[in-house]
Symmetry: D2
Subunit: 437 residues, 4 copies
């Protein structure tokens, strides 16, 4: 086993759109200034541990195909150490600033709660060294509350309080570790916070416990002085039949219900958006409108397949629409673009990890360039603003003012014999405009 | 044109499961007492105007097929009158207590806002007579804010305040009429309250205007002394690409945001539930958990087709699961089962309207019988209660008490070396139990 | 490790609909005669190895939960032996006649092709003993050509002929073993016979190789004197993005293309049907119309989730529609109802395997009773026959005769000034009729 | 009413990617030579009558919004004439070579079969003049066998032979007209050739009648000397629950069954492809592999909505993948790119028709430029060819030769102790390569 899994690969550098080097960036030019900010600061790219270093290339119908050296035997101390070293060296080779992890991704397996904590603590010590050695930072940490059999019926929504307490221990440690490692955010994805069958489920109890849990986490954050953002990651289903954090609007309602709408934001994943019946840009725009936009898990799904395929983004067109909404939301504060994406099961070589990430990074960077051009051009935004301009007029103001009542507004309509004139929404023109850049 | 379209048909009566009469109820025995209440009071069936009396049997690819007498020419005063008479006589023939309507369903066409109000007022006068003559009541009224071209970009979310004002006029009149006709609820379905393309849409402005509108309606309700329930009907999309009232959890968040969670409830439609990625019973259970369960639009979709097919319910199995949740929610207060369902385009005869409604009514009634038996048997509920019993224990109570912190709970997990034991969720057993009845 | 995993459970017997015994059949009365045949002969139930004895309760997001004794360590000779003993004793406890397997399900793991063949041969020897000891038969055997990493790019459609040859070896042995064990059918499910990305795929080459493979298998069947039926199991996708055997109509075209439509039939799985955009009954009816109906993999999907959930069937309503088509197809010759279904990941106990199978068996048996009643009643079939009766008339006969040309038929339409009269399709009445039984 | 609806608009011309003129082409440069052929010849663009000139902007939930002059009253002789003039002048303004129509699109309404034929004949006379006047050609004609109530239960699959005969008359006339107008193809889309409920449907009879119909049409084509291509347009469902021509593989099986695989090809629509669970490029590649690629209906669906949205194509990325397959199929012979696309219901102005078509045309043209560059670069195709190279080797040749048997191939695998080596499918690299151009 070796820490030098990627030794043969160069550090990836910008070479421009005309480059024919497969191991170079064609669009990601980290120091290039776009809309007043360096690309690196705009995009805040992160590499994730789970898909690229933990997953062995298995699927429901077949065994792992990847043969990474640290997968050769048990996930013991040495294997976990090798995996961490490989991961951080990979992030450095890509020359992106951040990485992300779940507790179990970075540590050796352990059975008891004491053993678990010890193993994780060792991993965190090592990560601290590696961050320093490789000059990389933590975008966010999280605890895996869904893979171990104890979580088969959920963590914070488990019918068994002992499981809830185990989850509390994992989250405390993962949040403390994230704080110590200088992480910018802490994420909660409720992978099994939902149900498999409504027949054995008390939604009421489960959601109250879940809301309580989130309040406990926020309280703990303040107690320990963590100043990063707490993020919830919506997903509609899978592995559960129904996951409570279905989408951004649902999460907003949940936060409002438990008084957390100013404490917690959303980490939006493209593939989760499409699984929930929305576009990626919809979820971002909605989060912006509701004031809870946080961070991004960049990937893509397959429009013909109904599960989470977590492919690397490769559509500049789709990402441009997403990027427009991110820019309109003011860009990231703590958040960033984490590649929650995995190479395909047939992409068995180390170089495929590079192709996946380079393609994803260039797709996002190219989209930023296009979105910035659309914003700077101004015609799309001007059309949109003009479309709502009448709300500044007298009738619009009356409607929105405290004097307006249903009756007073209706009386105006009747009194003026209103016959509103149709006005084209110009969808095709807008689509052409976006395609122009 | 004639008001006696259904003259040849008998009044539909209960004859029991063994009856071979196609024009009789086999399960709906209105005076039979189930769980302490007469079936009629439990189920509060309603017939809708739009699908059964207004829709001509057209679809996107073809013209109307139905040849009802009032469809022969223009929708003028005489045609509208004949349609109303046919409708109320049909409700009486079915011997169900309620009907529902949109303003435009019951009135002659009119161009100007003044003409519109006059035409609607005449219709309401006539409906009042007809209710009395046929001994029927209004479950709910609503205003159609989506069919006229003026609403192509929404009503309360329209970029044009004049359209908003038109909508205010329609809703004022429809709500006042509902009040006058003794309606039990008033419904808002935001058919075009959403967007076709995010490129021309300011979600923020639209949602604020929409929240404002809902507040205006609630205020008006109190001003005029209407004591029925205001209901929102969730739907994820269609006709728009995205509809803001996506599902029950989304509506809850919207209501919380605008301070209306105690004023407004949901009218849940089965086919809208499945289009949004949920089961029908999920939406009811979620509404119960959130305290906003109101009423039901009974129909079914087609699991292989991705649009609103609005078929009559015919699955006793699916309805049993829904009925279990309705019973657990305490049953209806103001709400009921409205058949928002249409016979198929090839079902061109008057008798098909009977078959559709009789089948739907019997399906729901049969489901009530089954659900009541499951409740009375008690095993399913007992298993579910037992599954969460540990939350009454010391650990559960600590977690839920104000003393618990993430740290204190985690310390308990560590200190006790917790290793939670797996416990079967018994999904197959529960499904077998439900199938037993 | 023990072969007596199910020792504490009784043999499951019929006790009738009123029984409150969870471990008894309420509808499956094997010797009851329905439409002239014993239920056991009608339904030919089989238990599968893979879901119930091999799968450990893992999913994409989490580890196995089931803790069967033979899962405690490696899948070595002893574990495989214990698993086989447990499986056959389970089939006997259920008192159903058949079981099904993939080669790898029943054998110890082995690395080389020689070791693989030896391990499988030992398993087959043992199965032969166990069949005899437990009085059970093999409905069908198959080879697993999708789980091992060598098959990541397909088996018969793999770009590498060496993989194709490996697959040929597995299929030869599995077909020979099926023959020796008296199996009634041999199944091919092309789990990875499709593609992940069209960018690296030559559909033309892959389909030709696939057609060639199927011809080789059919040829081998005849050489060795196997008289059972060769079956293809359609599925649209998963694990691949696109699977070539998408659905029954697709398979028919494939068979026609390679001259195999009289040699090969389809094994229809309910959940695969719904994933491909069809109902289960559609696939059966289509197979009947095309003359390729073979066998059934009984399970159900989740209408809101887009992957293969392989749940036990529990809808008598849905199965009744499927059973109607099976009866119309003349019932099974070699085929049967194999439960390609798995208990949920939270159903961790041995008893859950009983609940799953008992529920599934009773659901199917109940559906048979209902479908037979509908057939015997005759009204549904009579309506359908009458609907097409005019094809026996003069115009219908002219159209179908060899003298008819487009011109002659059109001339008749014009000459007679045809104005066809609308006739209701009576969908609601038909649905009510089906629900009546 | 006026024929000069588009008088104020210029003829659209190529101005290059940098043009800021909304009414110019940025990519479609008709005389530019790509891969040895002029763009105009490559792409063979057509405008359709139905969406752009007949549809009034209605949907299931609302009335028409478009107010074209010819929609002001009944569809009488004058209106139909104005519509035809507007349409052909629009095609000329776009400067694309072709248009397409259904019989009912171009004619005045008529009740009887005699009146229908007369009205259509007048329209065809006028179209012949207009083709000449505007210098445009017919890509294909077709008969509308789905909008009139008589077709509610299908045309060639109708239970009533009189309807079948009516359809024969329409198709005869439409095919003859297509022949007379010099049309390059004749299309059949089986809009209601399927079923709404399987309960009233004999799939066997319906498919035989449908196969018979197609044979009659092919026979008629030869009788009248029409040398264009007969095309079937697959669609999985909508308006029917199930349409028999589900997708390309299904159509292939249907053609094989009725001996028509060398007579009939497919007209592939992008939105129909995605509704059937496939990508657009899949359908084209499959048609190529099966030898039945014919023509294209260019549009796009909405990945989150489950019905046929028929939007104008605007994804160069998606079209590039489709164009690669078209080029590999040898390009069009008789076929072309027909815009079976409609502007959105809110796009009420004449200029929106221009924006829609210009955007669609430029999207397709840009995709052609990209696809040609990928082909000329050669790396993608070289990788793909190399992936299958081993089939030229000895083992591959043995497998494909007539001497190979399952046994002989298996013996080779065993004798050589084959252990096939994994080889990356390089999906991410291929996706990056495609994105490079």
């Amino acid at each position: 086993m070796t820490a030098s899994y990627f030794a043969e690969f160069p550090t990836i550098a910008y070479e421009g759109p005309e480059s024919n080097n497969d191991l170079a960036y064609r669009w990601y030019d980290k120091d290039k200034v776009i809309l007043g900010k360096r690309m690196e600061e705009h995009l805040r790219f992160a590499v994730c541990f789970w898909h690229s270093f933990c997953w062995p290339g298995s699927d429901v119908f077949g065994a792992g195909t990847f043969r990474r050296p640290w997968h050769a035997g048990a996930n013991d101390t040495a294997a976990a150490r090798a995996k961490r070293e490989a991961a951080l060296s990979f992030v450095e080779k890509l020359d992106v600033p951040f990485y992300c992890f779940h507790d179990v991704d970075v540590m050796a397996d352990a059975d008891t709660i004491g053993g678990f904590r010890k193993s994780f603590a060792e991993a965190v010590d090592h990560l601290e060294e590696l961050q320093d050695r490789h000059g990389r930072k933590l975008l966010w940490g999280t605890a895996n509350l869904f893979s171990h059999p104890r979580y088969m019926a959920g963590a914070a929504t488990n019918p068994d309080p002992e499981v809830y307490a185990w989850a509390a221990s994992q989250v405390r440690d993962a949040l403390d570790a994230t704080h110590r490692l200088g992480g910018a955010n802490y994420v909660l994805w409720g992978g099994r916070e939902g149900y498999d069958t409504i027949l054995n489920t008390e939604i009421g109890i489960e959601q109250e416990n879940f809301g309580r849990f989130l309040n406990l986490v926020v309280d703990h954050k303040h107690r320990v002085g963590f100043t990063g953002t707490i993020l919830i990651e919506p997903k509609p289903h899978e592995p559960t039949k129904h996951q409570y954090d279905f989408d951004t609007q649902t999460v907003y309602g949940f936060l409002k219900r438990f008084g957390l709408e100013n404490e917690v934001r959303v980490n939006i994943e493209a593939n989760h958006a499409t699984l929930s019946g929305h576009t990626f840009e919809h979820e971002i725009a909605m989060a912006r409108a509701l004031g809870i936009f946080g961070s991004i898990d960049a990937n893509r799904g397959d429009h013909q397949n109904g599960w989470d395929t977590d492919q690397f983004p490769n559509s500049v067109e789709e990402l441009t629409l997403a990027m427009l909404e991110i820019i309109r939301a003011g860009g990231f504060s703590d958040g960033g673009f984490n590649f929650d994406a995995k190479v395909r099961r047939q992409s068995v070589d180390a170089i495929d990890l590079f192709h996946g990430h380079i393609g994803g990074i260039d797709t996002v960077a190219h989209a930023l360039v296009k979105a910035a051009a659309i914003i700077e051009d101004g015609r799309v935004d001007a059309f949109r603003a003009e479309r709502y301009a009448a709300w500044q007029g007298e009738l619009g103001q009356h409607i929105r003012s405290s004097e307006g009542t249903l009756g007073s507004i209706a009386d105006l309509a009747v009194g003026r014999d209103l016959a509103p004139q149709p006005r084209s929404g110009r969808q095709e023109w807008l689509e052409n405009m976006v395609n122009r850049f």
